[in-house]
């Protein structure tokens, strides 16, 4: 006999509630971690770089780009937990035996990731924006567009990190995930330079950056808060990030089948 939608939803809510209890316990620790990253980056880019010769107009776009760095580090922490769980505790194996379709179980994981990302990052970004507000022109800001791209990006990150934590084995993840995947994604993206500037500097580099999914996330943040003129259009970025969820969902699917033997 299969579960009804309401049965599945009830179990889903129970899993999310349990994750919420765990999130509440470590929320402050995560906020402190994020605060350290945010202060360090804001200080470097808004106070030190201009003295070395960087134009002040780049402060706001680069700060927004660095939001991705915080999300990246946080996502890694979450993925790290799953990797250790699959290797040692195997709590996930217990959850796999629950009378719940697997897509509901992993949707609960993604939901918990998104809640955690959201709660930790929003206060930090608001604080960062307040610190550098003198260098931000809010004339073209669209809060609604920003909220949309932001939430979609959080779901994308949750799927991506869940996917890589299940797809790669522990040793490979520990030794190679930063140098071979995360670092190249982070460095070879327009996080530290707006995309259009990079394209103007070298069209081939600009096109190369378009392969990187982070380009659409970061440019989406910029265009929704600073206007579409200097950055890739917000609607286009949002659409691409939504489309990128297809391969990341497939990565989760492959990871589950590779590592967890679902029945």
């Amino acid at each position: 006999m299969t579960n009804s939608f309401s049965d599945n939803f009830r179990i889903f809510c129970a899993i999310v509630r349990r994750e919420w209890t765990v999130i509440k316990k470590r929320l402050w620790k995560l906020i402190i971690d994020g605060l350290v990253v945010m202060i360090g980056l804001v200080f470097s880019f808004s106070h030190l770089f201009p003295l070395l010769g960087m134009p002040k107009k780049l402060i706001a776009p680069i700060y927004l780009g660095n939001i991705i760095t915080s999300l990246f580090i946080m996502g890694y922490t979450l993925a790290h937990r799953i990797v250790y769980d699959v290797k040692d505790n195997k709590f996930i194996n217990y959850q796999m035996t629950l009378p719940l379709p697997k897509r509901w179980l992993f949707a609960a994981y993604v939901t918990a990731f998104v809640i955690e990302f959201f709660l930790v990052t929003v206060p930090l970004f608001v604080a960062g924006i307040l610190i550098i507000k003198a260098d931000i022109n809010f004339a073209n800001t669209s809060i609604l567009s920003f909220a949309a791209i932001y939430l979609i990006s959080l779901v994308f990150f949750a799927l991506f990190y869940l996917g890589i934590s299940l797809f790669f084995d522990f040793i490979w993840f520990r030794d190679n995930i930063w140098p071979r995947l995360l670092h190249p994604l982070l460095i070879l993206s327009p996080i530290f330079v707006p995309w259009k500037l990079a394209y103007k500097f070298s069209p081939s580099i600009g096109i190369f950056f378009l392969i990187n999914p982070l380009t659409y996330v970061v440019e989406g943040f910029r265009s929704s808060l600073l206007g579409n003129e200097q950055f890739i259009n917000n609607i286009y970025c949002t659409l691409v990030v939504v489309l990128l969820m297809i391969p990341t969902t497939y990565l989760v699917y492959r990871g589950v089948h590779k590592r967890l033997d679902p029945v």
């Binding site: 971690d33 360090g40 470097s44 030190l48 030794d175 071979r180 190249p184 500037l197």
Partner: protein, 273 residues
């Protein structure tokens, strides 16, 4: 018959030999990750793209100054790879308990620091020459003193390795590694001249500039900048060398002190030969 000291020295060399045997077995992976991917990425992005977009075309020296700071991150990442297995070992197989049956705990730790230093140095050594090959005239090495630079890199490896072993003694479990990176390494990195040199910090916040003199990573970046770019803007080579040696000694002594709970107690329970 060999004296006790000779025996200990031979055991020490044997442990070092074993560590290097494993190092060479994993050499391809380490060389690809740290010796190839990092220099390629950093040279391409930080020295080629970022520096040219941030600064005017005639600011070659500023670009070089900014790029050099990347060495501190590379040293941290490389050394982490050779030091933190000890922390995983504390929580897992405790191979270290076997090692201290053959050698005193302090010598075991000293051997691990020596190995981590040499292995880290071997991985970071080609970074600047490789970047020069890639970047050609976009990386200003006209005033570089390569020998002094390699001395700084060696001492930087020693200092970071000793710092990590101290961190291992204080952390005691692997679940706190992420906190350690975010709350200690990242601020030390950013305030240690990773992107901007010390004189800029002194210009904006003199008090902070003075406080950062207590940051060991600062002497790696300042030493590297001084030996590559030269001039009077950076801390001098002797100052950086002296500071790195002092920090290395301090971290090693503190490691010995904090490790006594972890290792020496076990050693005194009749396990030493």
């Amino acid at each position: 018959m060999a004296s006790n000291t000779t025996k200990k020295f031979l055991f020490f060399l044997q442990l070092l030999h074993r560590d290097f045997y494993i190092f060479f077995k994993n050499f391809t992976t380490d060389a690809i990750n740290n010796g190839l991917i990092f220099p390629l990425m950093y040279a391409f992005f930080f020295a080629y793209i970022q520096s040219q977009l941030y600064f005017e075309t005639d600011m070659l020296q500023e670009r070089t100054i900014m790029f050099i700071g990347n060495i501190s991150l590379l040293t941290l990442v490389s050394s982490y790879h050779f030091t933190f297995p000890l922390l995983f070992d504390f929580e897992g197989a405790r191979h270290v308990d076997y090692e201290i049956r053959t050698l005193s705990p302090r010598l075991v730790i000293l051997e691990k620091i020596v190995f981590a230093t040499l292995a880290t140095f071997a991985l970071i050594l080609p970074f600047f020459p490789f970047c020069k090959l890639l970047l050609q005239n976009k990386f200003d090495t006209s005033n570089t003193n390569w020998i002094q630079l390699f001395i700084i890199l060696f001492l930087g490896s020693l200092c970071v390795s000793a710092y990590y072993f101290l961190a291992i003694c204080i952390l005691k479990n692997a679940s706190r590694i992420n906190n350690f990176w975010l709350r200690f390494n990242l601020p030390l990195l950013l305030l240690g001249g990773f992107w901007t040199p010390w004189y800029i910090t002194m210009k904006v916040f003199p008090a902070l500039g003075i406080a950062t003199l207590a940051n060991p990573f600062l002497y790696i970046t300042e030493g590297a900048r001084q030996t590559i770019v030269g001039g009077s803007k950076f801390l001098s080579f002797p100052v950086s060398v002296t500071a790195l040696i002092c920090f290395s000694l301090l971290f090693t002594m503190l490691t010995f002190y904090f490790l006594k709970n972890e290792l020496i107690i076990f050693n005194q329970n009749g396990c030493i030969p």
